[in-house]
């Protein structure tokens, strides 16, 4: 016969179970706003059975476990998508900075500055000896230099800014992996010792993993003991394993290094997602591409203007020494081919100089062509100076001597006495432009571009050209200014670049033949296409994340309505169990009092 005590036991278990249930409900309600919390459920079992006299009795209820509603597959999809979304997020944000650097829609965007510059030459052509027109040319040239310098600086600053952010991200990655490792150890020991699932620690770990996915793309794998293996770089770098953590660090050039058992390994190219992936794309693809193209544009622009400017003459002959602003490279033996623009030089052309003797008011022309004077790519600056002096002697001229500076890397033309002045005439070789003699701009790229210091005397701005037969200067000659105003129409070979940081070398260059204006327009338009694509991708992956979040919450999220119902349910059941206890107790009382 089954005793009354057994009924009392059932009541006790029922009271306990419902009280646990209320506790779980309470925990769920408390965490309704915790995004990482997974809804907990109490699992019940009807307990063992007792066979008494051919009858099988139940023995009440057992709480078997407090389970967490987690779909780990969904969670890992969400992490992946989160990686992608945060990569696009960083890319999109930084592309906006790049657009800002381009100063679009303002008067200082390059396209307006180019137009202003060409127009300033046209204005000068209308009044070739006008001092305000000359100042106007210099001013608009300066504005272009400023903008090129600013854009180059802006891209460099963005790059170092991104590097700082990468450093911070690497630190937080190491912090997060250390925490995951710590949680791994706690989960393993709790679950092994107590045989129960450590729900809240697991929730905490899941939250860290999802935070980590925002920083870089990772894959995770749960091992049978409950610990979580975290790998990055497409599974090749174990960040958290059974042996503890392996840290990331930044190496030379801001490369991402993983501390393998055999020392640091560069895993930058295998990181494609997370903030880190987005920043690497910006730093190693977007910025170098625009930096290279900006340089390509600056070089083409400078060459066009310098070439034409060096063909012309200002209002007066030069009476002081003229030093070429371009230098050869001493490490290349000061060979001419180490000049920045030597590739643009046509060796079949002739570089001509006119010497003016003011005592007799006569002009003598000296022409120097490469083949007659044995000048070539491997000649040194000194060879060139010697050739010039030889040409003078050969052609019966005197008055100017060419020398090199102390470093032997720049050419200097000096008049022999105050009777002599000189000017540069037609130069279809482009040698003067390559030497930086009688040029408008100095430098070789967007960052070091400047204005030839000689032009601080605006009379030296070459609006005209020497009379090709007499070598005379005419103040109203605007022939060079007219040609300079049209330099924007010259099509020339320029490189366009495409960068893929995972290939070696990362950049591929192709040549297009176009004008500087349309090259710049293409640059801006490509930037627009890129930004548009990234923004679109960002929207898509954010929508994916939010869709997956909904699905995850549908399984793991707390619903207050449900919990309210549970609350009532457990309360009622608790009341019922208490009633059972009371009835069983009264029955016991009855029995005892009948004695």
């Amino acid at each position: 016969m089954i005793g009354i005590n057994a009924t009392l036991d059932i009541a006790k278990q029922a009271i306990q179970a419902n009280q646990y249930g209320l506790n779980v409900t309470g925990q769920n309600i408390a965490n309704v706003d915790n995004p990482n919390y997974s809804r907990q459920l109490m699992e019940l079992n009807s307990g063992g059975s007792l066979k008494v006299g051919g009858l099988v009795f139940g023995t009440g209820v057992d709480v078997t476990q407090i389970a967490s509603s987690v779909d780990s597959l969904l969670q890992s999809w969400m992490n992946n998508e989160q990686s992608t979304a945060s990569a696009y997020d960083k890319k999109s944000g930084n592309l906006n900075y790049v657009q800002d650097i381009f100063n679009l829609d303002t008067d200082s965007s390059l396209d307006s500055l180019f137009s202003d510059f060409w127009n300033s030459w046209s204005k000068l052509s209308n009044v070739p000896d006008g001092s305000s027109e000359r100042a106007g040319v210099l001013e608009s040239g300066n504005a272009i230099v400023q903008q090129f310098n600013d854009m180059s600086d802006g891209l460099n600053n963005l790059s170092s800014d991104v590097n700082n952010r990468i450093d911070v991200a690497v630190d937080s990655i190491n912090g997060i992996t250390a925490q995951i490792d710590k949680l791994n150890k706690s989960i393993v020991s709790i679950e092994a010792q107590q045989g129960a699932v450590a729900n809240d620690l697991r929730d905490e770990r899941t939250a860290l993993v999802s935070k980590l996915s925002g920083l870089l793309d990772i894959t995770t794998y749960e091992q049978s003991d409950g610990s979580l293996l975290v790998t990055a770089a497409r599974g090749s770098a174990i960040l958290v394993g059974s042996g503890g953590t392996r840290e990331l660090s930044t190496g030379d050039g801001g490369r991402i290094m993983w501390e393998s058992s055999g020392g640091p390994v560069d895993i930058s190219d295998q990181i494609s997602g997370g903030s880190l992936g987005g920043w690497l794309d910006i730093r190693d693809e977007v910025i170098p591409e625009y930096q290279s193209e900006l340089d390509s544009l600056a070089r083409a622009f400078m060459w066009n203007v310098n070439y034409q400017h060096s063909q012309g003459v200002g209002l007066n002959y030069f009476s002081d020494a003229v030093t070429g602003s371009s230098a050869t490279d001493a490490s290349a033996g000061n060979q001419l081919d180490s000049l920045d623009f030597f590739n643009n030089v046509d060796p079949s052309g002739t570089f001509s100089t006119w010497i003016h003797d003011s005592s007799t008011d006569t002009n003598t022309k000296v022409g120097i062509d490469f083949s007659s004077y044995g000048i070539g790519a491997s000649s040194t600056m000194q060879d060139l100076a010697d050739a010039f002096n030889q040409a003078l002697t050969d052609q019966g001229a005197t008055g100017v001597t060419a020398t090199v500076n102390a470093d032997g890397d720049q050419i200097i033309f000096t008049p022999d006495s105050s009777n002599y002045q000189f000017a540069f005439g037609e130069d279809d070789s482009g040698l003067a432009a390559a030497l930086g003699v009688n040029t408008f701009f100095t430098g070789s790229g967007a960052d070091d571009m400047g204005i030839n210091s000689q032009l601080s005397d605006t009379d030296n701005i070459a609006a005209g050209q020497l009379d090709p037969t007499t070598g005379e200067i005419a103040a109203g000659d605007n022939s060079n200014a007219l040609l300079l105003a049209e330099c924007g129409e010259i099509s020339m070979d320029m490189n366009v670049y495409s960068y893929d940081r995972t290939s070696d070398p990362p950049s591929t260059a192709s040549t297009i033949t176009t004008t500087t204006d349309s090259y710049y327009q293409t640059m801006v338009s490509n930037l627009g296409v890129l930004t548009d694509n990234v923004n679109r991708n960002l929207e898509t992956s954010q929508a994916m994340v939010s869709e997956l979040q909904d699905q995850r919450d549908s399984i793991s999220g707390v619903s207050l309505d449900e919990e309210m119902i549970n609350l009532t349910k457990y309360q009622n059941s608790y009341n019922a169990a208490s009633k059972l206890l009371k009835v069983a107790d009264e029955m016991l009382d009855t029995i005892i009092s009948t004695r």
């Binding site: 309704v32 706003d33 995004p35 809804r39 657009q99 679009l104 829609d105 396209d111 307006s112 180019f114 137009s115 060409w118 127009n119 046209s122 204005k123 052509s125 209308n126 009044v127 070739p128 000896d129 009379d467 005379e472 005419a474 103040a475 109203g476 000659d477 605007n478 007219l482 105003a485 049209e486 924007g488 129409e489 204006d517 349309s518 710049y520 327009q521 293409t522 801006v524 338009s525 490509n526 930037l527 627009g528 296409v529 930004t531 548009d532 939010s546 979040q549 909904d550 919450d553 549908s554 399984i555 793991s556 999220g557 707390v558 619903s559 207050l560 309505d561 309210m564 119902i565 009532t568």
Partner: protein, 306 residues
């Protein structure tokens, strides 16, 4: 599908953010009147707008150039007309002097008149436009003619044979000046060191001498030479007319082109205000709907009924 409480709040917040952002963008489009604000809005259109902007800026500069050209031509025309007047006066004087009624005193007076004409002509030949000599070629800072009747040759031209030109488009130049040689004839000395004397100044000098010394004996020949100069200057004046007309036409073409381009630019970057306003109303409705839905869903809970 089971709906977690957080989903309701998350979704409401996402929807509100999205619809508000759309609403804001639609409002910005209406207020700025531009549909292309960033290159990413319409990369191709943005590049076209930049291209048209550069062309418009060039065209604006062409107006400047054409104005400069017109100024040179107008001054040239006035000056050439005054040269023409001087030649006419000289010719009338020559006709009067050959009708046989002149006495010695009349010839002397006539010679003095011609001398007056000569110095006036030198002044005219040294006319400036905006501080630049009109007839010295491109040596615009050099006075073209100096007269010294005791020297050989008495008149010297210090200008050159180049003409001042303006740009009327890429690779297109229009000469807007006339050199002294063109207007007044060749001056200077030949290889033997004798004066060439083909020029109008020398002609007036010999006319003066003829009137003063020979009582007009050579006036027939001089009249013929005056006619040659008259025709030459007259031809130049019609040339000025042709060039002015050409510049006027160019100016009109430039203006028309500007209008067309401005229209094209506007088509690409400007919004159709009706469309934009409709879109704004639509986005407003969407935002209002999201607000309504949010306030409705977040205000009900089972808690309220227990």
């Amino acid at each position: 599908m089971r709906v977690a409480t957080m989903t309701i709040y998350n979704n409401s917040s996402t929807q509100l953010t999205r619809t508000l952002s759309d609403y804001n963008k639609a409002a910005k489009t209406v207020t700025t009147g531009k549909k292309v604000q960033d290159p990413s809005d319409d990369p191709v259109g943005y590049a076209q707008v930049m291209d048209i902007g550069s062309t418009l800026s060039q065209l604006g500069q062409l107006h400047d150039n054409i104005n400069t050209g017109t100024q040179w031509l107008t001054t040239s025309e006035t000056t050439l007309n005054s040269v023409l007047d001087t030649i006419s006066q000289a010719k009338q004087l020559a006709i009067a002097a050959t009708n046989g009624t002149y006495n010695d005193e009349d010839y002397a007076t006539a010679a003095a008149q011609v001398d007056e004409m000569l110095s006036q002509l030198v002044d005219t030949a040294n006319t400036k436009v905006n501080g630049h000599y009109l007839f010295s070629g491109t040596k615009t800072d050099t006075q073209p003619y100096t007269l010294d009747e005791t020297a050989v040759p008495p008149i010297t031209y210090s200008g050159n044979g180049e003409k001042f030109s303006i740009s009327t488009g890429v690779g297109s130049r229009t000469d807007v000046s006339y050199t002294g040689d063109e207007v007044f004839g060749q001056t200077g000395v030949d290889s033997d060191g004798n004066g060439i004397d083909d020029d109008l100044f020398s002609l007036l000098m010999s006319m003066k001498d003829d009137l003063a010394n020979n009582n007009g004996a050579n006036l027939e020949t001089i009249m013929g030479d005056l006619d040659t100069h008259y025709n030459n200057v007259n031809n130049l004046i019609s040339d000025v007319g042709i060039k002015s007309n050409r510049l006027d036409t160019k100016e009109n073409v430039v203006s028309d082109f500007e209008t067309t381009l401005t229209e094209q630019k506007s088509n690409i970057e400007d919004v159709d205000l009706t469309d934009a306003a409709t879109d704004l109303a639509l986005k407003q409705t969407a935002y209002q709907a999201a607000l309504k839905a949010t306030s409705s869903i977040i205000s009900v809970s089972l808690v309220d009924y227990m």
